[in-house]
Symmetry: D2
């Protein structure tokens, strides 16, 4: 059984930085959102399907550690992976690095539920997720 992973790249734009001269913390969350969208899509839950049936992954918790600043024009690599699938939630983790000098920029862990919107009813994890990923042990910590 293989752990779902996702690699995306981002180039730091003006709107990602602030007047401190570095990337603003809100921008990192957007980079992570994009990566997680593709990650969850590889697990079989795509955006267009979500838009149609209104069943979405919903964040329960985010933890981000800001390790080093990134700056304008930096090319960043975002690695995302599935940590584990539990009965009523799943865990994902992310690492943002700057390949040109091998610096670690961000570490992030998120906990998500699967919810039917807009009523907000929590759903069980998809049956095939439990089957395929249920025995994955968290890779981080």
């Amino acid at each position: 059984m293989e752990r779902p992973t996702q690699l995306t790249t981002e180039q730091v734009m003006f709107f990602d930085t602030d007047c401190g001269g570095v990337v603003h913390n809100i921008a990192y969350l957007r980079f992570i959102e994009s990566n997680r969208t593709y990650l969850v899509e590889t697990m079989g839950m795509g955006l267009r399907q979500m838009a149609a049936d209104h069943i979405f992954p919903v964040l329960v918790r985010t933890e981000i550690d800001y390790k080093r600043p990134a700056g304008l024009g930096d090319k960043l690599q975002v690695e995302g992976w599935l940590e584990s699938v539990e009965r009523a939630r799943f865990l994902v983790a992310f690492r943002i690095t700057r390949p040109v000098d091998c610096q670690l920029i961000i570490e992030c862990r998120q906990v998500l539920a699967v919810v039917q919107m807009p009523v907000g009813r929590p759903m069980r994890m998809p049956a095939d997720w439990v089957e395929k990923y249920g025995s994955l042990a968290p890779q981080t910590r």
Copy 2:
């Protein structure tokens, strides 16, 4: 008959600036959105009502002139007003100033339709808007 107007204030936050040291153009659009939301509410179309009946004002066109830069910590004043109501659209305009030194920062004009979402069906202007505001002449230009 009185022209609907709206005054809001914004303090420039880190996330509003970029590494050029000034407010990023995307932030001004957010300031204008907030002002327009309150402006349209004074005309009788509130957010919670929109969320309930899915009839929204929808942008058709935006024009923004960036006159002078604003910076971190600046207190800005946003003035918004109804320019005119036509048969199938209405026009609003905005001016962002920095009261402390009386500088003009932004001028903006927007054209909106009223649309039922998500189908995107254009609606007539509300009957009371035509009655109350139909004879307003544009104030700008």
Copy 3:
């Protein structure tokens, strides 16, 4: 000795929501940023001073728990407070609630350092912070 606290209010705008019908997680981080900016200002570190001397509070870690969704037009209350000041970092915490139905929406804790930008040199905590707030015990958990 008094614990610094800050109360801000936000009205949920269209740009704060996503097509799931609820507030997007990135918006909450912006609400928290605004509150923390005012909180840190009451502790003596204002935006305009930061812009002048390039000494900024910089995030080291964020933890957010998303307890309940908020929606378009909701009036939210953001409470922020100083948890504690240590030798090389300080801790703050936030609670976002919806007063109309007394619902808890968000809990958040952040760890910050004080850094001179753009070189990124960590500074000691301001001397008066250690004196005034050094004996504060964390209020949360």
Copy 4:
């Protein structure tokens, strides 16, 4: 002499949409910013160079026409091109389309100056721009 052009693609993410079920107007401006950054880079003004010498293209005016809504998961194509270079400013234009059904989503025109920040001093257009692009006639309208 060849007109500088730039093609970028965007997939509509949750954070690009609002509770009306469609892409929020602020998101389009971000798509255009990214495209223009690459466009200006092909003209010889890259982000890292800007960050080093603090000479930036700065927006003077934006006009956007919102033609049709886009939705969650849509794959959008952004075409940007140089319209013309004048003595103290240059003009660019953009078209956002949805290739899957050939729909036109956005048309945009922007006017920019080249400015040394943070003092905000306007600079002449780069000499090689005038030479290479000075005789380009606007393509739009």
